[in-house]
C-alpha cells in the first residue's frame, strides 16, 4: 500500500512558537498534520497520546521548550518522563516506539518548526502507516494499545511517572536518592505488569477466562499469569466467575 503523507498529531507548547512560525505551508507537503496548542506539553495526559494512536494517527509529536526553560517551571520534564514510559508500553503493544517523540526548541536558538516536522515525517515514512490507521486495522495491536491506555489511566503507573523526577533527582521520603538504575528496574517491572493486567482485563471483559487460556493468548507462563490474577483479585479488578470442572474462570469487574 502506498503511503503518502503520514498523519501526525502535534501537541505544541503555547510558548515555544508564535502563530506565524506554526503556519508554514511547506509542512502540508510532507505531512497530514493537526496541531494542537496547549499551555504546556506537560499537560498532555498519556491517555490522550495513546487515544490519538487508537484513533489512527501515524505519529504523535510533542514539541515544547527545551529544559531547563519552561514557562511552567518544569512541565517539559514531566512530558519527557511520560513519553519514556509510553514508549515502553508501545513496545509491549507491538507498535513502533518511534511513532511517539518529544522535541525541544530553545527560545534563544533560531527556531525551525518546519525542520522538526520534516524530520519526524521522514521517520514515520520509514515505518510506514500505523497498523491502526489502515482500513483493516490490526485488531491485536488495537487491543494492546487500549490495554496500555487503560494502564496509564490507572493510579499505580501514573503515580510512578509523577514521582520519578522527585525520587531520582531529589530525595525520597526518607531523605535518600533512588538511583536511576534502581528506579528504571522498578518502572520496567511495573509497566510490564500493568500492561499485562490491563490486557487480561480487556480479555476478561469479553468472557470468563482460565489462567491457561490467558497464558496462551498472552504467550507468557501460566504461573506468571496466575500471579497477576492474584494481584488483580487483591485490587478488585477481576473476580472468580465460576469453576469449570477443575478450572477456575475469571471475569472482569466492571465497577471499580
Amino acid at each position: 500500500m502506498s503511503f503518502g503523507k503520514p498523519k501526525i498529531v502535534c501537541f505544541v507548547c503555547n510558548w515555544a512558537f508564535t502563530e506565524q512560525e506554526l503556519a508554514v505551508s511547506r509542512i502540508r507537503k510532507v505531512a497530514d498534520m493537526s496541531v494542537v496548542r496547549v499551555m504546556c506539553v506537560g499537560r498532555i495526559d498519556p491517555v490522550i497520546m495513546l487515544e490519538t494512536f487508537i484513533k489512527g494517527a501515524d505519529g504523535v509529536l510533542l514539541v515544547g521548550c527545551a529544559p531547563p526553560d519552561c514557562h511552567f517551571v518544569e512541565g517539559n520534564v514531566y512530558a519527557e518522563l511520560t513519553v519514556k514510559v509510553l514508549k515502553k508500553l508501545l513496545v509491549l503493544a507491538d507498535l513502533e516506539p518511534e511513532r511517539l517523540e518529544v522535541r525541544w526548541v530553545s527560545p534563544v536558538e533560531e527556531v525551525r518548526f518546519t525542520g522538526i516536522i520534516e524530520d519526524f515525517a521522514k521517520q514515520l515514512k520509514k515505518l510506514g502507516p500505523s497498523p491502526l490507521a489502515k482500513e483493516k486495522y490490526d485488531v491485536n495491536i488495537l487491543e494492546d494499545v487500549s490495554a496500555a491506555k487503560n494502564a496509564v489511566a490507572d493510579f499505580r503507573l501514573r503515580a510512578l511517572i509523577g514521582k520519578e523526577k522527585e525520587l531520582t533527582r531529589s530525595v525520597n521520603a526518607y531523605g535518600e536518592r533512588i538511583s536511576q538504575i534502581e528506579f528504571n528496574a522498578l518502572l520496567d517491572e511495573v509497566v510490564k505488569a500493568e500492561f499485562i493486567r490491563h490486557k487480561i482485563l480487556v480479555l476478561a471483559r469479553k468472557k470468563p477466562f482460565s489462567v491457561r487460556e490467558l497464558a496462551e493468548v498472552l504467550n507468557i507462563k501460566p504461573a506468571v499469569v496466575l500471579r497477576h490474577i492474584l494481584n488483580m483479585r487483591r485490587k478488585g479488578m477481576i473476580a472468580l466467575a465460576n469453576i469449570d470442572g477443575a478450572t477456575p474462570l475469571y471475569e472482569a469487574l466492571e465497577v471499580r
Binding site: 493510579f155 533512588i178 505488569a193 500471579r227 469453576i243 477456575p248
Partner: protein, 1003 residues
C-alpha cells in the same frame, strides 16, 4: 516493692502460647509486656486454616484471644521487637528491648487500609509464604492485632503517597528503631518454632517444582484469606489438582539431617489438611498420605484418623517416599516409593511436604542473651519433673520451643508457665496494674429514649462506597433520634471525646454506631459510654462495612440503601434497650483439688505458692497416685525420689490441707462460692471454696487378652517395670504386644504413653541383660517429640520392632506349658513363632469407674471414652464449660509425667485468675425468669449447657447469673415463655427485624 520484687512479667513470643500466658498473668493481677518479632501477634496458629480434631476455624477461635490481648489494659504489646540484654535475677530483672521501626505511628493508625490500596510497590507476601504479593505498606493478615500498618523498608521507595493519603496522619518516614528498658520479675519464653526448610531435602524437589508445597503453604492455600481465596490451586497454572500426595516426616525423624526427633503435630495436621482439602474443591479429590507411623496419640485423635479413612476416603500408604520427579510438560509430579518391598511410582497433581518443627530463628542469640541452656536439637532444655523451667531461675518456657507440640498442649503449658512466672512475684500481686475509675451511672429509667447516631466513613473503606451523608440524613429522621453525625473514623480517640461531649450536651441516653464489626469494636464504644456515666448496654452497632461496603462494593446505591436499613433496624432496637446490671459475686479464696497424684499435688503446690489455701482430697490412704508405680524413666531422673520430695513439699506447706481416705459426697454452689461435703471414715466435713480442680487420674486397664491372669508369664508393662526395678527380672526372650485393649472397637483411641513405656522397659532390659531378646509387636510406634531418640536407641540396641495390623493381630497360645507367640511378618508374609519367657502387654490408661458419678456431681461432661471433657479441645484444655471448675492430668487423657505437670501448673493458673479476685463481675446479658409465669417444668434446666439454671425452694426455675452465658436457648424453648433474654428480648428482636423488612416487602 517488698524484697525488691517487681510485679511484672515479660512474655517473649505472641503466638497462641504467649498470648495465653499473657492473658492469664494479666488476669491474675500482674503487669505483662508481650513482645513479638513480627508486626502482629498470633504466631503460626493465625496462619492455619482449620484445627484438628474439631475442624474449628483457626482464626475464628484465636481472634477473640488476640483482641483481648490487644485490649487488656495490663498487657502492653511490643511488636517488631526482640530482647537484646538481660541483667538482674529472678524477681528483679532488667531487660533491654529493641523495637524495629514500623514507620507508622501506632497511636494514630486505625487500620483503614487506604495506604495499601494506593501503594505503587508490590512485594512478595511472606505471610502467605510467598504464594502471592502484597503492597510495600501492609498488615500481615486482615484480623491482625495490633491492626497497625507497617512499611516494608526493604521494598519501599519512599514515594510519599501513603503519607499524602493517610487521613489519620499516621505515616512517619522519620521514625527510628527504639530501645527501651523494662523492669520485670520473671520471664516466659514462647518464641515458638520455625518450619523446616525442605530445600535441604533436595530429593523432594521443593523450590524446583512449582507444585511441591509445604504444609504451612498448604494451610495458607486452604485459607479463605490466603493467597488463592480458599481455592486449592496448582501454583504452576492455577488449576485445581485432582490428586494430592502428602509426604510425612520431611525434616523430622531424619538421622541424616540430625533431626532425629518427631515433630509431634504433622501426622494430625496432614490428616486434617487432607480432609479439609477434599471439602474445599468442587471436584472429586484423591488425597494420599505417605507415612512411617501415624502418630494420632492425642485426645480422640485416632477416632479422627479413622474417620479420615472411612468417611472421607483419605488413603494412607506406609512408606518413606524416596524422591519426587516432575513431568515438565504437565507440571505433574511423580512420587517414587517402596511398598511391600516393591518399588512403585504414582503421578500426582500436587505434593504437600509435611515439614517438621525447627527451633525458632536466632535461637542461639536468644539463649545467649538470656543465659538459658538448649538441648541437642537447640530447643529449650527442660526436665521431666520441671517441664516449664529453663536452666535459669525466673525464666520459664512454654509451647513448641520447649518441645514440638500441638496447640492444646501449648495452651496448657502456657498457663503452666504463667503459674511459675507468677510464683516468683506472688507478693507483688495487684501492685503494678491500673484500675480504672468511672463516674457514677446516670439513671435513665424515667427518660424518653434520646438516641445519638454516629456513622463511620472508615477513611474510604465505608465512605468510598456507601453514601454516608445520606445515611446520616436518614438516621436523623428516625423516631427518637435526636442527633446524627458522620465521622472519618468513629473509632479514633478524638471521636470518643466527641461522643462523650454529645452525650453530655444533648443528654443522649442511647448511642448507635454504624461502622465495622461489633466483635472487635463494641467493647471500645461501650467503654466510652461508661466513661460518660451511661450504662454500657445502652449501645448498639450496625455493621455497615462488612455487610454493606464490602459485600456490595460494586453497587454503591444498594450498599447505601442497605446501610440505611441496618441503621434503622438498630435504632428500632435501641429504643427498647434497657440498662443492665452486671451481676457481682464474692470469691472465697480457697481451692479444692480432687486427686492426690502428681497432678493434684502439683496444682495444690502451685496454688499455695501463689498464696491461696488449698484442700487436697485423695481417695487412697496415701499421696502419689500412679507415680508410686514408676521406678525409672526414659531420662535419668529418679521418679521415686522426686515423688518423695513432692509429697514432702505438700505435707510441709501450711496452706495445703491434705485429706486422705476421703471421698467427695456432695458439691453445691457456683464459681467463687462452692460448698463441698467430704467424708473420711464415718466423718463428714464441709469445705467452702472458690474453685475446683479435677485431678482424679485414670486406671490401668486390666487385660482379658493374651492369657493375662491365666499364665503367670503374661504381665502388664507396669508389672514388668516393677520386676526390672526390684531385681526380679530373668528372661532370655521377652515379647511385648502394643495396643492391648486400645485402638480397638471398644476403645478406638490411643493411650499415648504405652509406646514410650514399652521402649523404656525394653531399654532397661537391654541395660540389665543385653543378651535378652526383645520383640515389640506394634501397630504404630508413637514416640512423639524427643522420645523418638529412645525408639532409635532401642532399635540400635537390637530391640526388634515388628508391625502388625488388625487383620494380623499376634496370637498367643499355651501348649504343654510352653508360651507361644505367633507374629505376622509382613515382608515374609508368614507367621513367625516366638517362645517368650515373659510376655508384656502394653495396656491403656482407662477412665476411673467413678468418673460418671463425679461428673454428675460437678455437672461437667465426659467424652465418649469416659474421660473428662474440657470446655474446648483446642483453646480451653484445662477449663470446663462450667465456670470455676478445672481439669488436669490423666483425668483429661493419658499423658506422660511432664505433660501432667504442665497441665497441673496450668490448672492452678486458671484457678488463680478467679481466686485472685475479691469479687467476680460477669456479663450482664443473662436470662431472667418471670416467677409468676414459670411452672417449674424443668425443661430449661435440661437445655442449659452451662448448668446455670436450678430450681429454688418453691420449685421455680432460677438463673444463677454468674454461670449464665446469655445464649438464650432456655428462653426460646420455655413452654410458658417465662424466660426473657436481656438485651435480646423478644420485643427488641422483633423491632429490629421488622425495621429491616418495612419498605422492602410491602414496598
Amino acid at each position: 516493692m517488698a524484697d525488691g520484687k517487681i510485679g511484672a512479667v515479660l512474655v517473649v513470643g505472641g503466638g497462641v502460647a504467649g498470648v495465653q500466658a499473657a492473658l492469664d498473668i494479666a488476669d491474675s493481677g500482674f503487669k505483662v509486656y508481650l513482645i513479638d518479632r513480627a508486626p502482629s501477634i498470633g504466631g503460626v496458629m493465625a496462619q492455619l486454616d482449620k484445627t484438628f480434631p474439631t475442624n474449628d476455624c483457626s482464626m475464628c477461635i484465636l481472634a477473640p484471644k488476640l483482641v483481648e490481648a490487644g485490649r487488656q489494659p495490663n498487657i502492653t504489646l511490643i511488636t517488631n521487637a526482640e530482647v537484646t540484654e538481660l541483667s538482674g535475677k529472678a524477681g528483679n530483672f532488667e531487660v533491654r528491648i529493641r523495637k524495629q521501626s514500623r514507620y507508622i505511628n501506632e497511636e494514630k493508625c486505625n487500620g483503614c487500609g487506604l495506604c495499601a490500596q494506593k501503594c505503587p510497590v508490590e512485594a512478595v507476601d511472606a505471610y502467605n509464604r510467598g504464594l502471592n504479593d502484597r503492597s510495600a505498606i501492609y498488615i500481615e493478615y486482615p484480623q491482625a492485632v495490633p491492626l497497625k500498618y507497617m512499611i516494608d523498608r526493604e521494598k519501599c521507595i519512599g514515594c510519599g503517597i501513603c503519607q499524602e493519603i493517610c487521613r489519620a496522619e499516621a505515616v512517619e518516614y522519620e521514625q527510628e528503631d527504639t530501645e527501651t528498658t523494662l523492669k520485670i520479675g520473671s520471664i516466659i519464653l514462647a518464641p515458638g518454632f520455625t518450619s523446616f526448610d525442605p530445600r535441604l531435602k533436595t530429593e523432594y524437589g521443593y523450590g524446583r517444582f512449582q507444585n511441591v508445597v509445604t504444609s504451612i503453604e498448604f494451610e495458607r492455600i486452604l485459607n479463605a484469606s490466603g493467597p488463592y481465596g480458599g481455592l486449592i490451586l496448582r501454583p504452576s497454572e492455577g488449576e485445581i489438582p485432582r490428586k494430592i500426595a502428602f509426604i510425612q516426616c520431611v525434616g523430622s525423624r531424619d538421622a541424616q539431617l540430625g533431626n532425629n526427633y518427631c515433630s509431634a503435630a504433622c501426622c494430625m495436621y496432614s490428616i486434617k489438611e487432607a480432609i479439609i482439602a477434599k471439602e474445599h474443591v468442587p471436584i472429586e479429590l484423591e488425597c494420599t498420605i505417605f507415612y512411617m507411623d501415624i502418630r494420632a496419640y492425642g485426645k480422640e485423635f485416632d477416632a479422627y484418623y479413622n474417620r479420615a479413612m472411612e468417611e472421607h476416603g483419605v488413603r494412607f500408604v506406609r512408606s518413606r517416599v524416596a524422591d519426587v520427579g516432575e513431568d515438565p510438560l504437565t507440571s505433574n509430579l511423580f512420587v517414587h516409593y517402596v511398598e511391600d518391598g516393591e518399588p512403585k511410582t504414582e503421578e500426582f497433581g500436587m505434593v504437600v511436604l509435611s515439614v517438621g518443627m525447627r527451633p525458632p530463628e536466632n535461637v542461639e542469640k536468644l539463649a545467649e542473651v538470656l543465659g538459658i541452656g538448649l538441648n541437642r536439637y537447640e530447643f529449650c532444655q527442660t526436665d521431666t519433673f520441671s517441664p516449664i523451667e529453663t536452666s535459669k531461675p525466673g525464666i520459664f518456657v512454654c509451647g513448641a520451643f520447649a518441645a514440638p507440640k500441638d496447640i492444646p498442649e501449648s495452651v496448657a503449658q502456657a498457663s503452666g508457665a504463667a503459674a511459675k512466672a507468677i510464683a516468683v512475684i506472688a507478693s507483688e500481686r495487684g501492685k503494678l496494674i491500673t484500675v480504672k475509675e468511672y463516674p457514677p451511672e446516670r439513671d435513665v429509667s424515667r427518660e424518653e429514649p434520646r438516641i445519638g447516631v454516629f456513622i463511620c466513613h472508615c477513611g474510604i473503606n465505608i465512605g468510598g462506597i456507601v453514601n454516608v451523608p445520606e445515611v446520616v440524613e436518614h438516621a436523623k429522621k428516625l423516631p427518637d433520634v435526636v442527633y446524627a453525625e458522620e465521622n472519618l473514623y468513629t473509632c479514633s480517640q478524638d471521636t470518643q471525646v466527641r461522643i462523650r461531649e454529645k452525650i453530655r450536651e444533648l443528654n443522649l441516653n442511647r448511642v448507635i454506631v454504624g461502622a465495622c464489626t461489633p466483635r472487635t469494636h463494641e467493647p471500645l464504644f461501650r467503654e466510652t459510654l461508661r466513661e460518660q456515666g451511661l450504662n454500657t448496654y445502652l449501645f448498639e452497632m450496625a455493621n455497615i462495612r462488612d455487610q454493606c461496603s464490602w459485600v456490595h462494593m460494586h453497587e454503591p446505591e444498594r450498599a447505601t440503601e442497605k446501610a440505611k436499613d441496618l441503621v434503622r433496624s438498630v435504632v428500632a432496637k435501641a429504643r427498647l434497650l434497657e440498662p443492665l446490671k452486671k451481676p457481682v459475686t464474692s470469691v472465697i479464696p480457697v481451692g479444692l483439688v480432687i486427686g492426690g497424684g502428681v497432678s493434684g499435688m502439683t496444682t495444690a503446690l502451685e496454688l499455695a505458692r501463689q498464696g491461696f489455701e488449698v484442700h487436697l482430697v485423695e481417695r487412697a490412704k496415701e499421696l502419689g497416685g500412679h507415680l508410686r508405680h514408676i521406678y525409672y524413666l526414659l531420662g535419668s531422673e529418679n521418679p521415686q525420689e522426686m515423688l518423695r520430695s513432692i509429697i514432702e513439699d505438700v505435707s510441709e506447706n501450711e496452706r495445703i490441707h491434705v485429706h486422705l481416705n476421703t471421698a467427695i459426697v456432695d458439691v453445691k454452689g457456683y464459681v467463687g462460692n462452692f460448698t463441698t461435703i467430704i467424708r473420711s471414715g464415718g466423718n463428714e466435713k464441709q469445705i467452702e471454696h472458690g474453685i475446683i480442680v479435677v485431678a482424679t487420674g485414670a486406671t490401668e486397664y486390666e487385660p482379658t487378652e493374651y492369657l493375662y491372669g491365666i499364665d503367670s508369664r503374661v504381665l502388664t508393662q507396669r508389672e514388668l517395670e516393677e520386676r526390672l526395678a526390684k531385681g526380679q527380672f530373668n528372661a532370655k526372650t521377652v515379647v511385648m504386644i502394643q495396643c492391648v485393649g486400645s485402638r480397638n472397637e471398644e476403645r478406638p483411641n490411643c493411650s499415648r504413653i504405652c509406646c514410650s513405656q514399652a521402649i523404656k522397659n525394653a531399654l532397661k532390659i537391654k541395660e540389665l541383660s543385653p543378651e535378652t531378646e526383645v520383640y515389640v509387636l506394634y501397630k504404630d510406634i508413637r514416640t512423639y517429640g524427643f522420645k523418638e531418640d529412645y525408639y532409635r536407641e532401642a532399635a540400635d540396641k537390637g530391640v526388634l520392632f515388628i508391625r502388625y495390623d488388625d487383620e494380623h493381630k499376634p496370637r498367643v497360645t499355651r501348649e504343654n506349658g510352653k508360651l507361644m507367640v505367633l507374629a505376622w511378618a509382613p515382608i515374609l508374609k508368614t507367621w513367625v513363632p516366638v517362645e517368650p519367657d515373659i510376655l508384656a502387654l502394653s495396656v491403656p490408661a482407662v477412665p476411673n469407674a467413678n468418673n460418671e458419678h463425679l461428673a454428675r456431681m460437678l455437672k461437667v461432661p465426659l467424652t465418649k471414652d469416659g474421660f473428662f471433657l474440657e470446655a474446648h479441645m483446642k483453646l480451653r484444655p484445662l477449663d470446663f464449660a462450667t465456670d470455676g471448675i478445672f481439669l488436669c492430668g490423666l483425668a483429661h487423657w493419658p499423658k506422660p509425667i511432664e505433660e501432667s505437670i504442665s497441665q497441673a501448673c496450668g490448672a492452678a493458673t486458671r484457678a488463680a485468675t478467679i481466686l485472685s479476685k475479691k469479687t467476680l463481675e460477669v456479663e450482664g446479658i443473662v436470662a431472667h425468669v418471670d416467677e409468676d409465669l414459670c411452672v417449674g417444668c424443668g425443661l430449661c434446666i435440661t437445655l442449659c449447657p452451662y448448668s446455670a439454671i436450678e430450681k429454688d425452694e418453691t420449685g421455680i426455675a432460677r438463673v444463677q447469673e454468674v454461670l449464665c452465658k446469655g445464649c438464650g436457648t432456655c428462653g426460646a424453648s420455655c413452654p410458658k415463655r417465662a424466660i426473657t433474654m436481656q438485651q435480646f428480648t423478644d420485643a427488641q428482636i422483633v423491632a429490629q427485624g421488622l425495621a429491616v423488612l418495612r419498605g422492602v416487602v410491602h414496598g
